[in-house]
């Protein structure tokens, strides 16, 4: 079971976990990214490349399912304006055993950060807005998963 979605509507961890709960697996893992109020940030704006982004996410899910024995993977990413405290991304995995579910979940969010066509802008209390720069720590974490 796999599901990938890019949506401008609010998302929730439950949207990713619910379809995985009754696949017969003994282990579910989830990761949820939330817009943080760093340094006066009041909202994020997420842009994506329609078509390519979904391909990127599907490729990541396929890679996870090839590397680990999984019963299911769900990746849901929100786009558009996202207020602080709202969810930006949810990743969830189901497996028979916990190692697979936990590792695949970490892999999916680490690699999504470097491999999927999304761009993030931070809107601040003073009215300014700045594109977020890619982080070398994200590259390092994604690199850990190379075979």
């Amino acid at each position: 079971m796999k599901q990938v979605a890019v949506t401008a509507e609010p998302i929730s961890t439950a949207m990713a976990l619910d379809p995985l709960e009754h696949l017969g697996g003994g282990a579910l893992a989830s990761f949820t990214g939330i817009a943080r109020a760093d340094c006066g940030v009041v909202a994020l704006e997420l842009e994506h490349y329609p078509g390519m982004t979904e391909q990127n996410l599907n490729a990541l899910v396929d890679e996870a399912m090839a590397r680990w024995t999984l019963l299911g993977c769900v990746v849901i990413h929100r786009v558009g304006k996202i207020a602080v405290g709202e969810q930006v991304v949810v990743v969830a995995t189901a497996a028979h055993h916990r190692a697979e579910a936990l590792d695949a979940c970490a892999f999916l969010i680490d690699r999504l950060k470097t491999d999927a066509a999304f761009w993030k802008k931070e809107h601040r209390t003073d009215g300014s807005a700045l594109w977020v720069e890619a982080k070398s720590t994200d590259d390092a974490r994604a690199e850990k998963w190379s075979l």
């Binding site: 066509a117 761009w119 982080k135």
Partner: protein
């Protein structure tokens, strides 16, 4: 060729996308960047730091030395920052 721009590059160029006939002297992604830079100062500003640019041909990530042959859409954008 259809050109699409995202994020900081889109804002600097001043549009999401455009259709342009590419001169016969333009063979690779790099040639495209050089040609566009000469067309208008907005491109020169948008493409000022090649280390902070990424490219996709028909939605597949490519390097700057990739030939355009057979592709219909070139996307130019900064490194991704989703999640």
């Amino acid at each position: 060729m259809r050109f699409v721009y995202f994020a900081r590059v889109r804002e600097a160029v001043g549009m999401d996308c455009e259709e342009r006939d590419v001169p016969v002297t333009v063979h690779t992604v790099q040639d495209c960047l050089d040609w566009l830079r000469q067309c208008d100062g907005r491109y020169a500003a948008a493409f000022a730091e090649p280390a902070r640019l990424r490219y996709a041909l028909d939605q597949q990530m490519v390097t700057a030395d990739t030939p355009l042959d057979g592709y219909g859409e070139l996307a130019i954008f900064p490194p991704v920052t989703g999640g």
